[in-house]
């Protein structure tokens, strides 16, 4: 998931009646029952899910852009095929997630509209540029790696369609993570220019990857409700620590340096320590001031605009056919 833990606050509960239904609903959640589209659910639960799932879907789609950059420039036919397949997987993830979201009573057109008008967010990580081939390695290794940390618990999410979509998505994300690591491995075993490219990519992607887990727990006010609803199972900081613990040894294996002077093993906690995230950067990118925010949205807008005549033609043709068949 690329949702940055931006959990949303629920509507305030109005009547006693609703309180009873809510209690029954919570009981089902606590019993690890899956909530299905036709089941009653609190409006705030529905809204939270729509926001989270659509944000996730948009992230898959916008995420195709930075990687899509390098399809035409991949350095070997094998890498080109792997990258094409990966980007195809991401488009597929976007599609399952839009469908999962539609089960909550909103259409894909409305969701796309929310993306293009800037009403819906997508993961800020994709507002960073892919400048060298090593960035394709770094994205697979770090970004898909962080996504897996976030998504594995979502396979047990209380909302059935989302949980099932995640099972499928997670399998593919772990392929992506391995393929990204393999690119980094080839570079770090390569010549000096390739090693430099790999280190530079890690320098640029490390902190944004840590930011993917969202604000720190002390600033994340809405986690509690999502935890109670089992939309979320671990806090942002827990997941971030987990990611750091897995990733730091991988960086060392690659012979790369984590761009953080405070990054060291802590015997007392049994975890890797790391320095303070630059929350100003986090907020700025979220506010639209990242290096590629405008470019990403513009690219989606252009594709949408340039394709308008095609979609219209398909609609017009379908209508003509329907009339012909009726006649």
């Amino acid at each position: 998931m690329y949702t940055q833990g931006l959990d949303q606050q629920g509507d305030s509960l109005k009547s006693v009646d609703e309180a009873t239904r809510l209690a029954a609903f919570q009981k089902r959640i606590d019993a690890e029952d899956k909530i299905e589209p036709r089941d009653w659910m609190p409006e705030a639960y529905r809204k939270t899910l729509i926001r989270q799932i659509s944000q996730h879907a948009h992230s898959e789609i916008v995420g195709m852009l930075p990687e899509g950059n390098w399809i035409t420039r991949a350095p070997s036919l094998r890498r080109k095929a792997i990258l094409l397949a990966k980007v195809q997987d991401e488009a597929g993830h976007g599609l399952y997630l839009y469908s999962a979201c539609e089960t909550l009573g909103i259409s894909r057109d409305e969701l796309i509209d929310q993306l293009l008008t800037g009403k819906a967010k997508y993961s800020s990580i994709f507002n960073y540029p892919t400048l060298t081939w090593a960035d394709i390695g770094a994205i697979g290794w770090l970004v898909d790696g962080a996504a897996i940390m976030n998504q594995i618990p979502l396979c047990r999410c209380s909302y059935g369609p989302y949980a099932r979509a995640m099972v499928r998505v997670c399998k593919e994300e772990s392929f992506h993570q391995r393929q990204g690591f393999e690119i980094m491995l080839a570079l770090s075993r390569g010549n000096d220019e390739q090693k430099r490219m790999a280190q530079d990519a890690l320098n640029r992607w490390w902190w944004p990857s840590l930011m993917m887990f969202g604000p720190s727990d002390k600033d994340s006010k809405h986690s509690a409700q999502s935890m109670a609803w089992k939309i979320k199972r671990f806090t942002n900081d827990e997941l971030r620590q987990k990611f750091v613990d897995v990733t730091v040894p991988q960086a060392h294996f690659l012979g790369l340096e984590i761009p953080d002077a405070d990054c060291q093993w802590n015997d007392d906690t049994g975890h890797w320590d790391f320095g303070e995230i630059d929350w100003t950067e986090f907020k700025e990118v979220l506010a639209g001031n990242g290096p590629c925010n405008r470019e990403r949205l513009q690219a989606r807008q252009d594709a949408h605009d340039n394709g308008a005549w095609v979609r219209e033609a398909a609609r017009a043709y379908a209508e003509k056919q329907a009339r012909r068949n009726a006649a």
């Binding site: 195709m64 399809i71 036919l77 095929a81 195809q88 095609v310 043709y317």
Partner: protein, 251 residues
């Protein structure tokens, strides 16, 4: 090299697949709908897969220690052997569809013949490619009809693309000494023999799509012999960048 004609023949097939795969890959992030972006990506993937099979076979035939990547990334355009149609820019969605339609209409016929090749390697790739191309052709045909018989704008646009690309269609059916070698050795068909079936199919679809078959029959050729349009150089510049910038690096 003891089989230079075979090498040449296989490189032509490999370059067609590679150049078309590269062009289709440019659609990622630009499609009119997510489903269409995925379709283009899948076709690109099919073609890059075929390019690898053809070019690695060509490299074996050459026996000069080159591999698929050296053939793909380290030849300049005078050594590329794809037909001109495939290097033409994507243009709008309709232009890509018209290019797909013209080529796939030919390619299914060609691959069908190639499945009977005396060259078992080629026959195997053809059998696999035929399944893929049958689907690509269905997709392109559906869109030809939707765009042709859709709105006034789409009709105009797709007709313009048909007119624009028509002059590159004849090359697919023009044979030379390499094609003659292929016929003599049972390796592949005489391209001219594929023309009538192509004409029938294209006429049928254009008619259903309410489109007009262009009447100019002047055809550009030369791609198969390494004389290309200006577009190929830019395509190769982009595709070959890393291999050129970091000679000898492993990726």
């Amino acid at each position: 090299m003891n089989d230079p004609q075979r090498f040449e023949y296989v490189v032509r097939l490999g370059d067609n697949a590679l150049v078309l795969g590269q062009r289709l890959g440019e659609w990622i992030g630009n499609g009119p709908e997510l489903e269409e972006e995925m379709a283009m990506g899948n076709f690109a993937l099919d073609y890059i897969g075929q390019a690898r099979l053809f070019l690695s076979y060509a490299a074996e035939l050459e026996g000069a220690g080159r591999d698929e990547d050296q053939l793909a990334f380290l030849r300049d355009q005078i050594d590329f052997r794809n037909v001109l149609l495939l290097e033409q820019p994507n243009g709008d969605f309709g232009q890509t569809i018209a290019r797909q339609f013209f080529f796939e209409s030919y390619y299914v016929l060609f691959l069908e013949a190639l499945t009977a090749s005396s060259d078992k390697r080629l026959a195997e790739v053809a059998a696999r490619g035929l399944k893929e191309s049958a689907y690509h052709l269905r997709h392109a045909t559906q869109w030809m009809v939707r765009l042709g018989d859709g709105t006034e704008e789409s009709h105009q646009r797709i007709q313009q693309s048909v007119d624009e690309l028509w002059r590159f269609t004849g090359e697919m059916f023009s044979g030379d000494e390499i094609d003659r070698w292929a016929v003599d050795n049972g390796v592949g068909p005489d391209p001219a023999t594929l023309r009538p079936a192509w004409d029938t199919r294209v006429n049928e679809v254009l008619q259903t799509a309410t489109l007009t078959r262009p009447d100019n029959d002047w055809m550009h050729t030369g791609g198969k012999q390494g004389r290309h349009t200006e577009h190929l150089g830019y395509l190769l510049t982009e595709m070959q960048f890393l291999q050129r910038a970091y000679p000898g690096a492993a990726w």
